[in-house]
């Protein structure tokens, strides 16, 4: 069994690693009371904090939802030995109200390595807990060219082989 499953190529039957997380409102409220908003500046971007802000300050349920969504999204990447890169998994509220995930820096790199182009999340909360589930969108892999490379005459040439295969079309990774 592979230690770190990597998503199969898109376009056929396959699977995706879901991620899920639950966050206690009491726990986050304690952190907000004990450390203030500064604590969450290490986890959320200014835009995310703005999404959580109300006239009365940061909304704890919104904070919990963002935190759960980031953790759920991170779980889809199936990486070991790495901490959640909090500010690099950005969860913003779309105009329609649903959450959108943007991967940056190390998170985007981890996603690439796992064959994932984007992550979609759903958040729910009720009184004491917020939960989030995340599903990755599998990145299309470039087609394997069956055309042999055209080599130059010189056997000592270090020039890269020239492929006559059509250019690779792929969905760019959101960053």
């Amino acid at each position: 069994m592979p230690a770190r499953p990597v998503a199969p190529p898109a376009g056929g039957l396959g699977w995706a690693n879901l991620g899920m997380d639950i966050v206690s409102v009491n726990r986050v409220r304690r952190l907000l009371t004990q450390y203030g908003e500064k604590f969450f500046e290490r986890m959320l971007t200014p835009g995310e904090l703005a999404d959580c802000r109300t006239a009365d300050g940061l909304d704890v349920l919104s904070l919990c939802g963002r935190i759960a969504a980031k953790e759920a999204a991170f779980k889809t990447l199936r990486v070991r030995g790495r901490f959640l890169p909090w500010p690099d998994i950005v969860v913003r509220r779309s105009e329609g109200g649903w959450p959108l995930v943007e991967l940056r820096g190390p998170a985007a790199e981890m996603a690439r390595e796992s064959g994932i182009s984007e992550i979609t999340v759903s958040i729910s909360h009720d009184v004491d807990y917020a939960v989030a589930v995340a599903a990755p969108i599998i990145a299309p892999t470039p087609p394997v060219s069956t055309t042999p490379p055209v080599s130059t005459a010189s056997p000592v040439s270090t020039a890269p082989p020239v492929s006559t295969a059509p250019p690779v079309s792929s969905t760019p990774i959101e960053q």
């Binding site: 726990r27 952190l31 604590f39 290490r42 953790e71 030995g81 909090w86 190390p106």
Partner: protein, 83 residues
């Protein structure tokens, strides 16, 4: 044990009352004594106790995986680390 490391140990124990002690080589991550959310708080504590600014983005998991590793990375005097 350095005072700072003892404070770190006590901090973990306070959050896990089911434990009486934490062995220096116990894996804090695998045993879920530190999770993603508490990790951020844990970094705050480590910075406070060790007097060292910590970049979460570049922090290696293995440097906080056990109390022994934490002592080595954050509470050893430079001369001790080199020895």
């Amino acid at each position: 044990m350095a005072d700072g490391l003892q404070t770190v140990k006590n901090w973990i124990l306070e959050r896990h009352p089911e434990r009486d002690d934490i062995a220096p080589d116990l894996d804090l991550i695998e045993n879920r004594l530190i999770d993603s959310l508490s990790f951020v708080e844990f970094v705050f504590l480590l910075e406070q106790e060790s007097g060292t600014a910590i970049q979460m983005e570049t922090l290696e998991v293995d440097s906080i995986r056990t109390l022994g590793a934490i002592e080595q990375h954050f509470f050893k005097a430079p001369a001790e680390v080199q020895a």
